[in-house]
């Protein structure tokens, strides 16, 4: 969860605190954001009774003693004494589900993760969504004024790996349509940095909600001079649905589903690299770069990292933790703050990279060194496929880490 959403969650909690205190608290949807919320509540002395989740694979597990249970369990508590807190983009669908099963208590959205959805047909809703659409059209017009008829590529979600896949196949897609000039629109500086690795000259960074409105305008106008490059966002894109009956690695979804390219299309590789400014501080071939943080993947148990640090300390390696923003280095390691464009030089110099499977692993795919990707044992979205089925990397050692969800 990025700091913008975290701050929104904290502020929203404070606004609703009267409705939450002294109630039995349930969370809905076991995902990384819900884990962050659970930690936040535990710090406040509030222990959620359960995490509701429709996925049978997740039910029966627990997080810090909070069980993951089917949504019907919420009915065991009288409605007036219970509250359900949500921090997922599926708020509208979950709220509807709770209503349908007869839950009478309060349902509170602490983060507006999905500005596209509002499951209502009231005149007020339609009018304010229309105003949002007009705002998006205005943003689109402004973009057109700046870039003329350049083709617009929208990356709707703040995930480095998604933008990496997009850029891997975008070139071939544009080539087939004889498009020479384009602008990539992304929701974060990190995503912009990934696009630039592939040589994108024009990259625009928007606040998530502004980008959502802009994309909505592109959908509404059916603008053929732009493309939304994602597998399941926004709601009009349904490419992920095939995963209910078939396993398709994410890279193949990008190549074939999103861009409509032949399955044997060769992905482009990033080419705009820089050398890390403090490269000589890294012992050549005798250092390990650890990457324990990921935005949309549940964290690995701390003891996994402690074990890795112990092994590499005994081997006499220099140990770095790749950190960004407020992230802390793992105990016994040196913080490393390198730009994405510098990461290839960093891991090649160090000789070894070990990281949770995140977008950073994609960024260093082509680096020439020992690379190990660690996969928490979880299912991809609400499918029966494991993360490793969806994301496994060539030229990496791909390892599933068992252990309690944390």
């Amino acid at each position: 969860m990025n700091y913008v959403y975290y701050n929104e969650m904290v502020e929203s909690f404070q606004n609703h605190v009267d409705k939450i205190l002294n109630k039995t608290v349930f969370l809905f949807g076991h995902c990384e954001a819900t884990i962050v919320l659970a930690d936040f509540l535990l710090e406040k002395g509030i222990t959620p009774k359960a995490i509701l989740d429709n996925s049978e694979q997740k039910q029966g597990k627990e997080y810090k003693g909070i069980p993951v249970v089917p949504p019907l369990v919420v009915l065991q508590e009288p409605g007036e004494k219970a509250v359900v807190l949500l921090v997922t983009r599926f708020y509208e669908a979950m709220h509807t589900q709770l209503n349908r099963i007869g839950f009478q208590g309060a349902v509170i959205k602490l983060i507006d993760y999905n500005t596209y959805a509002e499951y209502s047909l009231t005149r007020e809703t339609r009018e304010w969504k229309y105003q949002r659409l007009l705002y998006g059209k205005h943003t689109l017009d402004t973009l057109r004024e700046r870039y003329g008829n350049r083709f617009l590529v929208f990356c709707p979600f703040d995930a480095l790996g998604d933008v990496y896949f997009c850029m891997s196949y975008l070139g071939e897609y544009l080539h087939r349509r004889n498009i020479k000039e384009y602008v990539v629109c992304v929701p974060s500086k990190g995503c912009a940095a990934v696009a630039r690795l592939f040589g994108a000259e024009h990259v625009e960074v928007y606040m998530q909600k502004d980008l959502d409105a802009l994309i909505q305008a592109a959908i509404y106008t059916q603008d053929v001079n732009c493309y939304i490059a994602h597998q399941d966002r926004p709601y009009v894109v349904n490419l992920h649905k095939l995963l209910k009956i078939k396993k398709i690695p994410l890279e193949k979804i990008y190549c074939c589903g999103i861009f409509g390219l032949p399955a044997d299309t060769k992905p482009a590789q990033p080419s705009v690299w820089k050398t890390y400014r403090n490269i000589k501080e890294i012992r050549e071939g005798k250092a390990v770069i650890l990457s324990p943080y990921a935005k949309s993947v549940t964290a690995l148990p701390r003891q996994i990292w402690e074990g890795i640090i112990s092994v590499y300390t005994k081997r006499g390696y220099q140990i770095f933790t790749n950190v960004h923003g407020d992230e802390k280095p793992l105990p016994g390691s040196i913080p490393l703050r390198a730009n994405l464009a510098e990461m290839k030089s960093v891991v090649e110099r160090a000789g070894t990279f070990i990281g949770i499977r995140s977008g950073l692993c994609d960024v260093i795919r082509t680096a020439d060194c020992r690379k190990i990707a660690l996969y928490p044992d979880y299912n991809y979205c609400d499918t029966k496929w494991k993360a490793i089925d969806m994301y496994s990397l060539k030229k990496f050692e791909n390892i599933v880490v068992q252990g309690e969800i944390s």
């Binding site: 229309y130 349904n238 095939l242 589903g257």
Partner: protein, 125 residues
Amino acid sequence: MGNNDQEIGMLAVLEQDLEQRDFVILIDKKYSEYLTELLCTSTALKKTKKQLSILSTTEFPGQMGKHLYRKISEEEMDLLLQLYRTYEVSDRILLFSVDPNYGSMWNYVKSGIASQEEILQAMLL
């Protein structure tokens, strides 16, 4: 969107179908004949446990079994498509179309990753 009688009527239809059916399927008028035929004669439609409301601008004379089939006018379909493209009204509205500016399940068929029947089956789960 305005608030004329036609629009109010279509909103009422949509609200009722969302209340009573598992999915509401809009078939884009641009490909109406082809997509209506494809969906309505599919094994996926016969086998699905979901109850559907299918809205199309094309007549379909065949049997629909437990599903509801509504032929609506092009203007009415335009209203529904405008609404669909303005915001996500429900995750139980499915558009059968080939919009030009985002990836489509039909691309899987083109790439040989899935058959048309598999696509329809996945959409109706």
